[in-house]
């Protein structure tokens, strides 16, 4: 497999302009002749479908929810970065680029990141014009805050619902195109395969989740904006329906899957309350500005009420271990340390499967210093949410928190045009791997989804269509189409008719998640990963033998939907462990216990400064590794240290 990034050359600040100048265009009158499929309706998919529709293409957009407005982009709380420098604090496109490359621990492609930083300013203009109600100052201009440890205030926000408001902006633009007839929207429809014809992506196979009908949709190209794969862990902050199926089906047809082991664990989530738990809820990172993280020093204190543990017996482990940054160490460091102290038996809260996996986040000092009113002003909404879920008031007793999977930096390998290794198949947003390297900075997921959707894809899609000009017509009864439909139907039949049906798909998903979380989560070792690689195939075989789905596939069947997704998570989970085992270094969200120096991640630029793009071989246990070497012309790799 040849990996050509198709990056333009020359000074980085001119690359995107130069690329646009030398690209093909499709004339307005010709656009309606092209059919484009967009899968997913979140920030990337919704924005892409709306923008392509406006340009005059024939767009079909698909989502599994009952409305495109419900895509999981909606749950993003914090904000969106943009290099506007409205605060006069020295921000610039270059600085945002620099921070993002460094924050990604030097594992991303410089050209892509620079373009992202450039486009960030256009996103804010676009969103404001759509009526996104960003926070404002009294003079009527846009307000900003500093987010995730950034040294400048470049984050735009709409209360704690920035993702919701940006998504509704894209959704409304999409609704306008649906009304105009340029976009056909298919809700409650799940993509289950890609149709490949003469080496190009020419359509998808879907299942109507209400009627169970499997159909083929033929087009000139396909764009996947189907989100991340965080639900491989079973418990994550993702929505229950988030899945890897679309990306994984593409992978099985030859689209390389890049850096699957780069996953982000967010340190401040509400811990698991019991084995029944279905998902984890994130509490904004801003809480660490005023909260102090601690556990009891003595094991015998872990069941005591926190109020009864004297100051001397409290272990403020982040403050002690990282005096300079204290409770504000980066996400990965905070998360790993929570793992270590709970490994030592110092975790608090209810026991789940024999373990206590939580630490305290205590606001007592801040309340004493600033008063309860100030704390209420800053975090009132979060405290209410916490109380609704746990029944405890953080004004009275410390919060219990624990890390949870939040975002996946890995995804389908794409070139500078966001094209995968299958011609005619593009990927945008969290579904691709392109901009965050090994670690994503706060307030940059929304930025990437919208940059891809509004400004990159509409342009690179035109370039592709301009290059291929006319594709041969593909009839519905062509073997490439009918075989793809038959394969999907066959797979559904196989899931519905396991030889020894015993357990619901959730049962297997929980077991898979537990393996991945403990062995390929915050801290990974050769031994653990090898163990996981022995366990996963066994459990996968058991799944296919014993998965139990009641009802029929020819009607709405949520158990069947789930089973299909879990089946794909099994294969992806194995690839994650293979990737994590192969990457013998620690970088960003990937921490290998063998590669550390004084407890800090030890990157190995000499041997691992590459993108790992895995190729499907037909056997999920033996993927083929392709490497895209990374070079850094502008931001020279340096060591991250927070001591």
């Amino acid at each position: 497999m040849e990996l050509r990034s198709n990056e333009p050359t020359g000074p980085i600040e001119h690359r995107w302009e130069k690329h646009k100048e030398h690209s093909k265009l499709v004339a307005p009158a010709n656009r309606r002749k092209y059919k484009i499929i967009v899968v997913g309706s979140g920030l990337a998919g919704g924005a892409a479908a709306a923008s392509l529709g406006e340009m005059g293409y024939n767009v079909k957009c698909f989502c599994y929810q009952d409305s495109p407005r419900r895509a999981h982009s909606i749950a993003a709380q914090g904000g969106i970065n943009a290099a506007k420098d409205y605060q006069n604090d020295g921000d610039s496109v270059y600085r945002l680029f620099y921070d993002t490359v460094k924050g990604g621990d030097f594992r991303s492609r410089e050209s892509n990141v620079y373009r992202l930083a450039q486009l960030s300013v256009n996103i804010i203009d676009q969103a404001v014009a759509q009526g996104v109600p960003f926070a404002r100052e009294y003079g009527g201009l846009l307000a900003n805050r500093s987010f995730g440890g950034a040294q400048v205030s470049r984050t735009f926000y709409a209360r704690g619902q920035t993702g919701q408001q940006l998504l509704l902006g894209a959704y409304q633009a999409l609704s306008r195109q649906i009304e105009a007839g340029t976009v056909d929207m298919y809700t409650r429809t799940e993509m289950l395969d890609v149709i490949i014809h003469e080496g190009r992506a020419r359509g998808i196979v879907t299942r109507d989740m209400t009627s169970g009908k499997v159909s083929a949709h033929i087009a000139d190209m396909v764009v996947l904006c189907t989100g991340g794969y965080g639900n491989v862990f079973y418990l994550s902050t993702n929505a229950k329906g988030c899945n890897v199926t679309a990306a994984w089906r593409a992978h099985r047809h030859g689209a390389a899957f890049a850096n699957p082991c780069y996953t982000q664990i967010h340190p401040t989530c509400i811990p698991q309350g019991g084995s029944y738990q279905s998902k984890l809820t994130l509490m904004s990172e801003s809480l660490r500005n005023d909260g102090r993280v601690w556990v009891p020093r003595k094991k015998e204190d872990v069941t005591k009420r926190p109020e009864d543990i004297p100051e001397a017996d409290r272990y403020y482990y982040l403050e002690e271990r990282y005096p300079a940054f204290g409770n504000l160490v980066p996400r990965d460091v905070a998360s790993r340390n929570a793992l270590y102290v709970t490994n030592e038996g110092l975790g608090i809260g209810p026991e789940v499967d024999g373990e206590r996996r939580a630490v305290y986040l205590d606001f007592a000092d801040a309340i004493n210093r600033l008063g309860e009113n100030t704390i209420r002003e800053r975090y009132g909404n979060l405290f209410e949410m916490y109380e609704r879920i746990t029944g405890d008031s953080p004004y009275k007793t410390p919060m219990r928190i624990y890390p949870a999977t939040h975002y996946t930096m890995g995804g389908l390998w794409v070139d500078y045009n966001l094209q995968t290794t299958i011609p005619g198949l593009f990927a945008g947003g969290e579904a691709n791997f392109s901009d965050h390297g090994a670690n994503r900075l706060g307030a940059s997921a929304l930025m990437q989804g919208l940059a891809d959707g509004y400004f990159v894809l509409p342009f690179t899609v035109g370039n592709y269509l301009g290059e291929v000009r006319t594709l041969p017509p593909l009839a519905e009864d062509h073997a490439d189409v009918s075989q793809a439909v038959a394969a999907v139907e066959e797979r559904i039949k196989k899931l519905m008719n396991a030889p020894h049906p015993k357990h619901a798909p959730e049962h297997f998903h929980r077991l898979l998640g537990k393996i991945i979380w403990t062995k390929c989560g915050m801290s990974r070792s050769k031994e653990g990963l090898e163990e996981a690689l022995r366990e996963i195939p066994k459990l996968r075989d058991q799944f296919w033998r014993e998965v139990k789905i009641t009802g029929s596939g020819e009607t709405l069947n949520q158990t069947l939907e789930r089973a299909g997704r879990v089946a794909d998570f099994f294969e992806l989970g194995e690839l994650m462990c293979i990737d994590a085992l192969k990457r013998e270094e620690s970088c960003g969200g990937h921490f290998r216990e063998e590669y550390q120096e004084n407890g800090e991640a030890l990157r190995d630029d000499e041997h691992f400064s590459y993108v790992a793009a895995w190729e499907w071989t037909g056997n999920p246990s033996e993927p083929r590794l392709n490497k895209e070497p990374l070079s850094f012309e502008y931001v020279k790799p340096s060591k991250r240290s927070y001591k």
């Binding site: 009952d66 709409a158 306008r176 789905i549 009641t550 709405l556």
Partner: protein
């Protein structure tokens, strides 16, 4: 934290499809911990039903953190259940007592046909937004964001209205099954902002006409919608919608035509 276990009786509306008559069926939910969310309690019941070879209860849900608007059911006559400002997914079992009997029903409104069990078809909301719930701005043609100041109080009010998650609880709670709160929230959000002025006149008329065409009832100021809304979207937006509607009629260039009945 109490670690009490609850045993509950659930009467759940089961309906195979839009044309099926539907009926209540009774299930026991046993050993439910008070830390579970309401939907997790249903997950436990469902997993049990699957293992016994029965059909699980179908219900919509996704983010499970109260923002996507997917979930929603009527619990003992109240949309989203007994806790104020809380979606069904954020409702936790500590709100219930051991031995409670719970009646679970889908949103009931002619504008929301039942798909299956507790799942309804809310595509009418899509069509109301498509009728005009947007600002027409082509990608790439936006002016510099700070060229147009927006008074903070207007931005804050617009945000209040924009909090709507489109779950449909307002329709389910309304004795007239009116979609006024949903429609009014979007009309208000966009008409409060300077960016929304160009299309202000047509927007209210088009969206209200679509709301009527979908078979939702009119607003008679019961206020049940606001009480059921998990995001606290205010009834005053309906008054604003009515003002916008009158304003658009007064300002309309074309003669005002009486609405078809």
């Amino acid at each position: 934290m109490s670690d009490e276990l609850l045993n509950l009786t659930l009467h759940v509306w089961r309906q195979n499809g839009p044309s099926d008559a539907g009926r209540f069926e009774t299930y026991q939910a046993k050993d439910i911990t008070t830390h579970m969310s309401f939907l997790e309690m249903l997950d436990v019941v469902n997993e049990d039903l699957i293992e016994k070879g029965e059909l699980p209860i179908a219900f919509d849900h996704d983010c499970r953190e109260g923002i996507c608007g997917s979930c929603g059911m009527v619990i003992n006559g109240v949309a989203h259940g007994p806790q104020k400002l809380t979606t069904a997914c954020q409702l936790h079992m500590r709100q219930f007592e051991n031995g409670d009997e719970l009646w679970l029903e889908p949103w009931r409104a002619s504008g929301f046909p039942i798909v299956k069990d507790l799942i309804v078809d809310r595509s009418a909301f899509e069509r109301i937004i498509q009728a005009g719930g947007y600002i027409s701005i082509r990608t790439g043609s936006a002016p510099e964001a700070n060229e147009l100041p927006v008074a903070k109080e207007d931005a804050d009010s617009a945000m209040d209205a924009a909090e709507c998650i489109g779950c449909g609880a307002c329709v389910a709670a309304c004795p007239n099954a009116s979609a006024s709160l949903f429609t009014a929230a979007k009309i208000s959000h966009l008409s409060l902002l300077p960016q929304g002025q160009a299309e202000r006149q047509d927007r209210a008329r088009k969206m209200v006409a679509q709301m009527d065409a979908e078979g939702f009832g009119g607003c008679t100021n019961h206020g049940e919608c606001e009480a059921a809304c998990p995001k606290g979207v205010s009834l005053r937006w309906i008054a604003r919608m009515n003002r916008e509607l009158v304003r658009s009629m007064v300002k309309a260039d074309a003669p005002i035509q009486s609405r078809e009945r």
